[in-house]
């Protein structure tokens, strides 16, 4: 347990340093603002890293979340505008690498939703690649229903959680 205490102290110390650098803000940022950062400007960290450091998952970011229908990994036409904004940003930042995180709503079991989240991330990757973005710039990961944005059992909340969130790994 001594080890845990030491590690926690280190974590707090790290957070203080990061906070002094102006990057530990808990303010929910608006669309188009720079990310909250884990050190490097513009990098907001994966949803799991955010959960590890006690921050909630990020909704949108520099790149827009892409939303899906229930139990679906089909790209909906309503998401085209947001996808194309993401394509534009990736074209303007040709050295940027991203990771696409597939997320699901709470309806469905843990393992099935892992499979579904993987399909959603792949569908967005395929769209971006189809628009000429290099596939080697895009990795994917599934978090299933494990890291929801919200936990209300309402259609509005479920819809927010059915998403592919893009994390910028480096510019």
């Amino acid at each position: 347990m001594r080890w845990m205490t030491a590690k926690r102290t280190a974590l707090i110390a790290l957070c203080v340093v990061v906070a002094l650098a102006g990057a530990c803000s808990t303010k929910k940022k608006g669309v188009g603002e720079e990310g909250t950062g884990t050190g490097e400007e513009g990098l907001s960290g994966s949803s799991l890293d955010r959960a590890r450091s006690g921050r909630g998952p990020e909704e949108d970011g520099i790149l827009k979340d892409i939303h899906f229908g229930y139990d679906s990994a089909e790209i909906e036409s309503s998401e085209r505008g947001r996808l194309d904004e993401n394509v534009d940003w990736l074209r303007q930042n040709p050295r940027a690498k991203i990771e696409l995180e597939g997320h699901c709503d709470s309806r469905g079991t843990i393992e099935y939703n892992l499979g579904l989240g993987a399909k959603r991330a792949k569908a967005v990757k395929d769209y971006l690649v189809g628009q000429g973005i290099g596939g080697d710039r895009i990795s994917t990961i599934s978090y299933g229903k494990e890291l929801p944005l919200c936990q209300d059992e309402t259609e509005a909340c479920w819809a927010r959680n059915r998403r592919v969130h893009a994390v910028i790994l480096g510019k």
Partner: protein
Amino acid sequence: MTTARLVAWMMAMAIGAAATRADAVVTGTIVGPGSQSFPIAVVPLKNLGGDNDGSLGKTFARVLSKDLDLSGYFKLIDPRTFIENQASGIGAAEIDFVGWAALGAQELVKGGISVDGDKVTVEVRLFDVPGRKDVPEVGRRVSGARADVPRMAHRFADQLLEFLTGERGPFDSQIALTSTRGGRGLLKELYLWTFDRDDPMRLTNEQTLMASPRWRPDGGAILFTSWKEHQPHLFTFDMQTRRVSRLVPGAGAVLSGAWSPDGSKLLVAREDGGNSDIFLLDRSGGLIRQLTDHWAIDVSPVWAPDGQRFAFCSARGGSPQIYEMGIDGSGLRRVSTVGNYNTSPAWSPKGDRIAYSTRAGGGFQVVVAMMDGTGAKTVTSQGSNEDPSWAPDGRYLIFSTTRGGGHHLALADRDGRVQRELTRGTADDTSPSWSARLEW
């Protein structure tokens, strides 16, 4: 009632035997778990030396009573009405059978405990109250450490169920689960729960997400999915060394896995390029065979107890359904026939039934069906209920439920007549896996 008749009557209560034997002995009685057919009194163990505050004797009675209640076969006589005190002996001659009968007890559990340092010896007996005698088939002398007292009680409960129903009880066992009890938001760790505990006990400190814990059949390790190396992979927690180690090498994400009944092979759901399929691996993760190759989601492989077939969840028919297949890749067959969203299969250790989660209304319910898909019966109704795991006796299921808010563990029998909540609190307890019976 003579002991012989009592035995015949009790045997008739056995689920399997009810139809064939019951009519000869009992009429008009609903039998099986949930029937609460047996009024029973459990007396705290008498201190025969060393258990001076009576705490171990009380622990034994508390754990045994809880198991008997969970089984659904018993109606426990309220201890506050007990007529005998600690001073009376445990021989049949010293028991006030008339008094116990007046309280409605058909059966009585009494015993003694002696403690010498860390060594505890327990002697427990089951008494047939109408027959005014003890039942020699149940009850015995057993020794162990102080910490073993709860397990002694579980073992006695399991023996009692074996005597009464013909099938040994499942309570001397362990439950692996994932839980957010660590207080780190959505992060989950591996936990262990036993039927004598209020709260699960934390096993890991990985500070990441975890899912789908499953026992190695020998009970020596727990397999689980963890995001500790970024992508989801399979890891094991060794119960002896308490060490976590990666199991399946390679870069592809592994969503879940299950050890074969003989522990020599693994079934895994591996994800590559967005698509998940089922693979058969050797115990160290080497590929034996790819079993499914379909663009739709294939997840949650689980073994048949004979190790020759497996069930899994696939969306290949347009919606998630339960399928089975041979481990040689032959004989694909859809098992679930009702419901438009069925996931999380669990193959009964008896081989004849399958449990799974089905979407119903706003949530999920646990269904039990025969392996050929017939006789599908929803065994839960309150709250949303997911991820069923069979007891080693094939009679009970543990699953996560939202009745009472959050996710907690609950138990039902395979007919849905017994419903018991097992854990409480503000954290989420998910994905329970019921171990085999423990070795003594």
